[in-house]
Assembly symmetry: D2
Homo-oligomer: 135 residues x 4
């Protein structure tokens, strides 16, 4: 159970109207929830600017599954890096393309280095990493 505090924020009526419209469109039931999310989002983004911060990430790799040696190389990379590899998920997108999502925990800098290594492997066509910092 968390310890709540009530904070008052003064807002221009026009600005408030636009904000209410935005968050209603997204599905928020009340402003407090939306403001909390804005704050958490900003804190997470700020944390990710620090290479030494802890983060959890999904490394998305799109590759041609006919690259037979790629899977081995990806596995080796996962074992070589001192990161907590939490899980991975493999999806068939179409006849040629697979999407592999490798979920890792660790320092921002180390996650980025692993993602760079994986993305640069021959056969990997696209890579994009989603990082979140939970403080």
């Amino acid at each position: 159970m968390s310890d709540l505090e009530r904070v008052g924020v003064s807002l221009d009526k026009a600005l408030l109207g636009q904000f209410d419209e935005l968050i209603a469109g997204q599905g928020y039931m009340n402003r407090s929830e939306a403001v909390r999310d804005l704050i958490r989002d900003r804190l997470s983004a700020k944390q990710l600017g620090d290479p030494a911060a802890d983060a959890v990430a999904g490394i998305f790799l799109v590759y041609d599954h006919h690259s037979t040696t790629l899977t081995n190389k990806l596995l080796h990379l996962q074992h070589d890096h001192v990161l907590d590899i939490v899980a991975s998920i493999h999806l068939h997108l179409d006849h040629h393309n697979c999407l592999e999502i490798i979920i890792v925990k660790g320092k921002v800098k180390k996650i980025q280095a692993l993602a760079d290594k994986m993305g640069s492997l021959k056969g990997v066509k696209l890579s994009k990493t989603n990082m979140i910092s939970i403080t």
Copy 2:
């Protein structure tokens, strides 16, 4: 088997030196591979600017697993949206926080709308969507 074409690119030696250093640090074995990835990356980013483009995405949600009704709401949202929900993966981050990654295929605009709805649910603390367009 794909049909390759060889393209010549003229580059300033200083610029080439910096590029070689960058891609060696990332792990690339040759320049062609690195240039191809730059091109694919740009094409994917361009595509994602079009709300009607096809994409695959992972919607990352961090939530307190004590929010008992949240799981049901997330399931309802997945069934209500005409998107191809491919898979989902659930991870325990710490005592309070779970990470749920919901993988969807569909139009950019619809994925964004679903992600907004999920992110705005009470109990969801952080949400961040990773979208990729495979042309």
Copy 3:
């Protein structure tokens, strides 16, 4: 004189502590100001997702000032586009490089098209556009 409304937001004490630390580091004197800025920032970002929205932008171009015909081409582009070119500023960065900032007002889509055209001119080494939507 604007019409203010006071809104109450419930926040977890731990989250509030982190937020207070973040905004104190940035120089905010009070939370209301920081929350208003978060909201305006989000609204502006949302608006920029709409190609038809009004925006103001600075198109930053780094180019070698020895490219003698480039300045003419840039001027022609400014005259060819039905955008409100507000001003431009030219800076000497070093012996080779100039930075030109062209400030324009118009629809998001038209600004992007003009920025693409300018960035693709021979001699322009780097281009990066900063867009803001003021609602």
Copy 4:
């Protein structure tokens, strides 16, 4: 006069076709120029990840020009920071809003700190910084 080197890149015909279409739409006259820009863009982005790298930036501030003390505070901040303030430009957007663009040179980290301070001043409604690293 720069020292050019010709590099060969092997590309899938389908990928090449998409790339040609993309760059023609942006206005490029040839592929070399487009590939060079992709490379410079990536190098600049990589550099900006280093807080100690040199950069040039435009700090965009939207503020209500009825905030009479703001201009003074902005000037003080410019003098207090050991950054090379190159120029500034001031535009009237509408009856209430001004856009001030302050162009600075310095280390990424210091530019960010100055931008944070300016953005957090009372009266500044929106701030967004455009940073470029020229290596």
